[in-house]
Amino acid sequence: MSTLRQYELVYIVSPNATDEVVAELHTQVEAIVGKFDGRIEKTENWGKRRLAYEVNRCKEGTYVLELLSGSGEMVTELERRLRVAEDVLRHLVVRVDEELHVAERTATRRAETRERRRAARGLPPEAPTARAPVEAAAKEGE
C-alpha cells in the first residue's frame, strides 16, 4: 500500500443545490475515500458564503472542507469525480502534511532557542508568565 498522506479538500457547491445534494456529495467523497483505505479526519461545512468573484454565474456558494488522509491515487480519483460533478463550482486539494510538519519544527526550534537563551541569562526555565521575569531581569541589569 502506498504511504498515507494528509490532504485538505475544499469544494464549493452551487447555491442552487439543496442540502440533500451537499450531503450526497459528502457521502460520495466518503465512499471514494473508503475505497482507497483512506480516512476522513474532519468535515466542516462553512455554509453559504459570498464568492470573491462570479463562478458559473453564481455569486455565492456552500463551502465544504474535508481533512483527509490517504494515498495519491485516492486524490486522483476524488479530483476526477469532483470535476465531473455538476453542482461543484470549484474544488481544491492541498497536501498539508509537509507544511504542517515544517510549521511544527519551526515552533519547537523557537521554543528550544528561547529556553536556551533563558538558561544562558541565568533565568529559571519555564516561567509561569512571560512578561514578569523579563521585567525582573531588566531591573537586575540596572
Binding site: I12, L51, G61, R90, E99, L100, V102, T106, A107, R110
Partner: protein, 95 residues
Amino acid sequence: MAGKRSGGRKDSKKKKDDRGGKKSGLFRRRKVCRFCVEKVDYIDYKDARMLLPFIPERGKIQPRRLSGTCATHQRKLQTAIKRARQLALVPYVTD
C-alpha cells in the same frame, strides 16, 4: 555653557545617524514582518480575513517593500493568497 553646546552637537549627530539611508528627510518607522511578530508558522489559505490586509484594492499581492513582510513569510503568504484565489475567497482582480 560649553557643556551645553557639546550636548547640542551630540544630539544633532544622533539625529543624522537615525536618518541615514532613508530616501527622504522624514522620519520613517522601520517596518517589521507582521507574521514574525505574531510568530505565525503556517499561513492558512482558508483564513481570508488574515490575507486581506495584504491585498490592496486592485486585488494584487502587496509587495514586500510596502508591507515589510520578511522573505520567508512573503513566500508563504503568496502561496496562501494564490490558493485562496482559486477558491474564490479572495479576488484575482477588482476594478
